[in-house]
Structure formats: C-alpha cells, structure tokens
C-alpha cells in the first residue's frame, strides 16, 4: 500500500504556475474555465509569465484577472484591442493578450479589433464565441445562430432583421496585414488539444515578434442556452461548428514589400 502511495506522488498534472488558486465564478459546464487553463499552460510553457499582461473584457470573463498570476488591465466593453495597442506600442517587451467574448469583440468592439488586426499590432487575442451575451443574461449576440432563441430574440434570431451571424475569422482573414488566425473548439478532448496548440502558437508568434494573432474558440453557455453541460457540448458540435468551421484561416506571411 505504501509503495503505491510512493508511486502516486510522481506529479504528472498540476495547476499551471500562471494560474491562481482562486475558485472561478463560471457556471457549471461553461468552457471559459478550460480556455483560461489553456492560456495559462501556454504562458507557462513559453516561460513568459513575468512579462505578460492580460487585458480583461467586459463579459462573463470580466474577473479573469482573479484567476491569473500575471499583471492585468480591466478595459471598457470592447476596447481591449485599443488598450493592448497602447500598452504594446509603448512597452514592446511585454507579452500582451486580450481575452474577449463575442459581444465584446464582434459587437461593441468590432472597430477596435478590425483596426488593431489591420495595423498588425503584435499582441494575441483569445476570442471566446459562445453565440450569446452571457453576463447580461442571454441576449442576442452578433454570433447568435439563425433561429436561436435568446432573451432578445424570443422568436429565434431572424436573419432578415438581425443579419447572419458574423464570422470573425473569415472577416479578419480578408485583411492583408500578416496575421495568424485560427478557429478552434473545446467541446471534446481532441479539440482541446488542438486549441492548446493554436493558443500556444499565437503566443509564440508574439514572443518571436511576428504578428497579430487571434484564436477564436467555440465555447458553451449552458446557462443561457438552457441546456445541460453535456447537451451544450453537443450543441457546439451540431449547431455551431457547421457554420463556424474550425481550422487555420491565416498564417504569418513573409513581410510583403510594397
């Protein structure tokens, strides 16, 4: 028995150093927590915790700074890319990431993300797409699926009135400025592994001084979708991923001479 215990003390899995030991406030089954952890692991593996600054959004992840052991700024709703631009331009030695929901990035903050990406600002954006406004209680987002019932689309999203959901990776990858843009998901273990690789690459690009990088992560909101956590992961698979295809949309290109 004592032999078994001795073997079991070999640590194969532990809390990332960049992660604090605070208990997160997210609802059961919400994948914000998984995405946080992947970001913390990437920071640890690249050894950049001491020079990393996160920019928190307004949304369910507004308190993200309580869960990381890095410096953090709390930004106004949607403006994280502008804060990141300001800080990175005056302190290029810092590694800066924004963590933003779909309401934050694709609605109120659309202008800031498009222009930061187009200027090729050398920071990293983690874009969490859960097809709804979580924090304010489940209203329609620019990413809400056609027909999806939300607090402000009680008859289902009507694309005649509200337009089709905005696909940020496709939109941003139309820009010419070199960038790394990938869409991933975290509803299955394989997808989590792929998401981790993408997030780490996005930070690596910044360490290498390469380019603006954005990783869109399809995420769940069981609470506002009105589904159990298991049903919610299924919903990502059946409803979201056909419309939001996973994959790399843009890779860093050699700097183009003009």
């Amino acid at each position: 028995m004592s032999e078994v215990t001795a073997q079991a003390t070999t640590i194969t899995f532990s809390r990332p150093e960049s992660f604090s030991d605070a208990v997160t406030h997210y609802c059961p089954g919400c994948t914000h927590g998984i995405i946080h952890r992947l970001v913390a692991e990437a920071i640890d593996e690249l050894g950049i915790r001491g020079r990393t600054v996160g920019i928190a959004p307004v949304g369910c992840s507004v308190l993200i700074y309580n869960y990381f052991r890095t410096d953090f700024l709390e930004s106004p709703h949607g403006r994280a890319p502008a804060l990141a631009t300001g800080l990175k331009r005056v302190s290029p030695e810092l590694i800066i990431f924004t963590y933003q929901g779909d309401g934050d990035l694709a609605s109120i903050g659309m202008s800031e993300i498009v222009h930061a990406a187009n200027r090729g600002e050398k920071f990293t954006t983690i874009f969490v797409n859960n097809a709804i406004y979580g924090m304010t209680g489940g209203q329609m987002a620019p990413t809400t699926m056609p027909g999806q019932v939300t607090a402000t689309s009680p008859y289902g999203r009507n694309v005649e009135e509200a337009g089709w959901p905005i696909r940020m990776c496709e939109l941003l990858s139309s820009l010419r400025t070199p960038a790394y843009i990938e869409r991933v998901a975290v509803h299955t273990p394989q997808n989590i592994v792929r998401a981790k690789r993408a997030i780490k690459t996005a930070f690596q690009n910044q360490v290498d001084g390469l380019c603006f990088s954005l990783i869109e992560v399809l995420s769940t909101c069981p609470t506002n979708w009105g589904l159990t956590p298991c049903e919610a992961t299924q919903w990502v698979q059946t409803n979201m991923s056909p419309y939001y295809p996973l994959g790399v949309f843009k890779k860093p290109e050699p700097r183009l001479e003009v």
Binding site: R49, G50, R51, T52, V53, I55, A56, V62, Y65, F68, R69, T70, D71, F72, L73, E74, S75, P76, R79, A82, L83, A84, T85, G86, L87, K88, R89, V90, S91, L94, S111, E112, V114, H115, R119
Partner: protein, 358 residues
C-alpha cells in the same frame, strides 16, 4: 533657448516632447490637426511613438493601455473628439492613471463648426464621462502659456495619477507667437511608479481596474478619488489678476484668449479713467473661487462681468464664488464668433453707467 515664432498647435507638440511626453495617440480634427502633423515628424527623431488611431474612442483607450505602463502618454483633439474619449477618461480616472489630454475647443454642440469656442467648459470641469470623478483643467491664454501648462500637465498628471486636460480655445491652436522652451524641464520629484503595469516578474500581480463589484469597495474608491480632488482644490488653484486694485469699479472674469481681449478693453477704459480689474482663471478645475470672491466683495466693486466664448457656462462657477454679494453678469458669443473689444466695452459701460462713458 532663443525665442522662436511658432504656431500654438506646434508649440504644444514640442512642449510635450520637452516634458518627456513622447507617446502620442490621436485622430485628426480641426482646429488642432497640426499637433499630430508636427509630432508625426518629430516623435521618430526622439524615439517616441505616434499611433494614428481609427477613432477617438480608440485613442482614449490606447491612452488607457499606454498610461498603465507608467510612461508619459497624451493626445490632442477638439470638442467632438474629446466627447468620444469621455468613456476612457472615466475609466482612467477610476483606475487612477495619469494622462494628458489637449482640447483645442471649437464651437458645438454636435458637429458645430471649426472656429474657436469655449463651450466645452461644463464637459471639461464636471467630469464629462460617467461617475464621481474630476479632471484637472488648465486653460492657457498665450502660446507661451500653452507651452508652460502642457509641460506642467505631465507633472500634475503623475503627481495625482489623474487625467489632466488642457482647455485651449481654437485661437490658441491657430495663432503664431514667439515662444521660449526651457532647456530642461525642471520638476519636483515624483513618487515611485509602483502602480505601473510592467509584468509581474518578481512581485505579486498588479490589477489596474475601475471595477469594484462590492459596493463598499466601490464607494471606498470614490472616496479616495474625492480626497484627491480636495487636495487639488487645496494645492492646484491657478489664476492671474490683471489691474485688480481698490479703484476697480468692476471685475471681469474671463479665461483663455478671451481674457486677452478683455485686457485690451481694460487698458482702453483705464486710459479714459474707468478702472476695471480682470481675474483670469488658469485652472478651471480647481476653480479660483476664493480669489474671485475676494476681488468681487471689495467696496468699490459694482458688478462682476463674466465673458466667455460660450452661451454662459463658467458664469455659474463665478456666481457660486460671488455668493450673491455682488451682481454677476454675463457676456458671450459662440459658434466660432469671438467677441470684439468694442462689444465687451459697450456691454460693460452699459451695465455700469447705463451706456454713458465716464
């Protein structure tokens, strides 16, 4: 350093650099675009940064991010642009970040016009954005003073960890005057920047925020801010008296380039035997209430005349200062019309003698 002839907007840009303000974020707007044009040439020479943002909303928030670094960051804009920055100004005030904002005011409301005005007084001195906060507001009357106050603004912003606004009217930006730059910007020592977000290397992580979900914590933050504003009221009141004497029959209160027009009026009336004094607030917040009160209650003073390039905004602060002890009148033009010395003189004489010059 020699005196050189410079346009106000360019002199402000140069003054910022001399004060170490080499991180500049802006979006073009008349009548201050020359600040950005000048700096886009100068900043690369001094290892600075100029980002032309996509909007003033972005500018305000770029300043927010950059200010958190502890470096000297600033912008310049004009009225509609400053309106768009109010979001970030509220957040920066809440998070106690230093930043310098230069507003070369034009006529409003709305798109208004592009000529000089002083109609952003309420917005400047009352907070402008949401929440219980104030910004320090300095109003230059000459290009030289614009230079001096811009440099001072960087110091005060850091001293108080608060946004500081230069409220210049469009004339200040566009006029050319001789200016002198000090060889070195002398400033008293400032406390260490232990609040700067530079990475958590060998200390606990730092969170720069204005979010306090616990109402007790939020109220506490507002009280801390309020105490700071009280300290500004005690230590940062600036004003200039002009020909204030016991012989004065009236006191004019006016600021910025409008005050210079009032000086012309005062000189002219003095030559004709009518003694008028001028009190020119240099800090609009904190407002020189005591000085105005004391000048107004002098025995010979018949009235106080507030002259502004607006429909009457500072006049409310003047009334508050005078406490009803003397009549307070207002004269102003707006929309880009600058009152002429004759207009101001006629208004004053009418008030004093029913139109008869003495």
């Amino acid at each position: 350093m020699a005196r050189i002839l410079m346009k106000g907007n360019e002199a402000i840009g140069e003054a910022a650099i001399r004060a170490g303000g080499i991180y500049y974020f802006a979006y073009p707007i008349t009548p201050q675009s020359e600040v950005g044009e000048y700096l886009s040439r100068r900043l690369p020479e001094v290892g600075g940064v100029f980002v032309q943002a996509e909007s003033e909303v972005a500018v305000g928030n770029m300043l927010f991010g950059a200010a958190a670094s502890g470096k000297r960051v600033f912008t310049s804009s004009s009225s509609p642009g400053i309106s768009l920055m109010q979001e970030a100004i509220s957040y920066m005030a809440g998070a106690q970040l230093p930043v310098v904002l230069i507003n070369i005011m034009r006529g409003g409301p709305g798109l208004g016009g592009i000529l000089p005005a002083q109609s952003d007084y309420f917005q400047s001195t009352r907070g402008g954005g949401h929440g219980d906060y104030r910004v320090l507001v300095l109003a230059p009357a000459t290009v030289q003073e614009a230079v001096d106050l811009t440099m001072l603004a960087f110091h005060l912003a850091e001293k108080y960890r608060n946004p500081v606004l230069i409220a210049g009217d469009g004339m200040i930006g566009q006029m050319m005057e001789p200016v002198e730059f000090p060889d070195q910007f002398e400033e008293p020592p400032l406390p260490p920047k232990d609040w700067a977000t530079v990475g958590a290397r060998d200390r606990a992580p730092l969170i720069t925020k204005s979010l306090f979900l616990d109402p007790v914590a939020l109220e506490k933050n507002s009280i801390i801010l309020h105490e700071k504003y009280l300290k500004m009221k005690a230590d940062e009141i600036r004003f200039e008296p002009y020909k204030v004497s016991p012989k004065n029959r009236a006191i004019i209160v006016s600021y910025g380039t409008m005050a210079r027009i009032c000086q012309t009026v005062i000189d002219e009336l003095e030559a004709n035997g009518t003694s008028i004094g001028l009190l020119r607030p240099i800090s609009l917040f904190p407002f020189p209430e005591r000085a105005i009160h004391d000048a107004a209650v002098a025995p010979n003073i018949e009235l106080v005349l507030t002259v502004e390039m607006s429909m009457g905004q500072m006049v409310e602060d003047v009334e508050k200062a005078v406490l009803g002890k003397k009549p307070v009148h207002f004269y102003g033009r707006t929309g880009g019309i600058v009152p002429s010395p004759e207009e101001v003189r006629d208004c004053l004489l009418k008030l004093l003698d029913g139109g008869k010059a003495k």
